[in-house]
Symmetry: C2
């Protein structure tokens, strides 16, 4: 038995989403089939509105309702510290920690040659234009192979652009054991980084 | 920092889907943000089309492009056997097994008092109208509490409607160890049902 075309079409759409396999896509679509028409219309309308009603801030490239975004336009944020992150969700996570009062720069990815993503596919080179008045640049890309490569690339790129002459200190966000973790179960690389990053009590 | 309204709206929509938590909903929405506009339009259009381009077959209530559906309208299917299932996906699974040539009846759920789903919320009572010429009714609801209750309800309902007088044998799909399973790891209830359902070699 073949599925109705409309069902199959939507399953294929859901399958393309990250973390959604063929089985879950099927389950989601059959769940939607039990929703009333106006719910589906509403869902569809909200997908269409997603990009229409959001912009990328021209300064930090974060997803926002306004340009400049609420953080870049906030005069109470420190201008001396700039924090480079991979994704808008990273900004949300850092804001939730309540421990960073500077501004952000969102790359929208990391350098990943296997996926054909190089520095030119990211909002990377314009970091150099944002260093006016900045004394510290915190590179908070993920502690993954791609994130580390991106961090290294940024620091080298800025060095060639003479960021050192502008007295910008480039730092990397700290790595080590997450709070609540168990040393017994920590992996070797994390432990090595935690030892490297040890601090005086 | 607050998320843009359009982003938040869509996250809430995704959160309502089964098996999608707040974190995955966030990830899905930010993934969609990186899609081109026409992709989003297409996704939205396919959600709207889902119910517009499908109907429920008036006989078996399966989701279909035509009414009657391709199975009910197929003269080569046996009319003597009717198989009652909970969901359209169960029809697909049974069809894939290539071992049932009769027709189906889709309940669209199972009796679940905790979720306020009683027999009247299901396509249940009209099974009685489909027994013309049927000699065996296979109840293939899930082997869960709700599925078992539904099976019991159907057999008792049909008994009061005099299905026995029509010579309809009501059977339940077999329960036991799935093929490829390991007796060592099987749970007690499954093993008990497997022993009950033993057959002569």
């Amino acid at each position: 038995m073949k599925l109705p075309r409309a069902v199959q079409n939507l399953i294929e759409k859901f399958e393309k989403l990250p973390g959604v396999g063929p089985k879950s896509a099927q389950r989601l679509v059959f769940y939607l089939l039990h929703n009333p028409d106006h719910e589906l219309e509403d869902f569809a309308q909200k997908i269409t509105a997603l990009k229409k009603n959001t912009v990328l801030c021209e300064h930090c490239h974060n997803v926002s309702e306004s340009n400049p975004c609420s953080i870049c336009g906030d005069p109470s944020r420190e201008v001396e510290v700039l924090c480079v992150v991979e994704q808008p969700l990273d900004v949300i996570a850092l804001e939730r920690s309540n421990s960073f009062k500077g501004k952000y720069h969102v790359l929208h990815g990391s350098i990943a040659p296997l996926n054909n993503i190089g520095p030119d596919q990211l909002f990377l080179h314009d970091i150099a234009d944002r260093l006016e008045g900045v004394t510290e640049l915190i590179i908070a890309t993920n502690p993954t192979m791609e994130g580390e490569a991106t961090a290294l690339y940024i620091s080298e790129y800025l060095a060639t652009r003479g960021a050192g002459a502008n007295k910008v200190t480039i730092t990397r966000i700290g790595h080590g054991l997450p709070i609540g973790a168990d040393i017994e179960y920590a992996d070797g690389v994390t432990l090595a980084r935690a030892l490297e990053g040890r601090r005086k009590l």
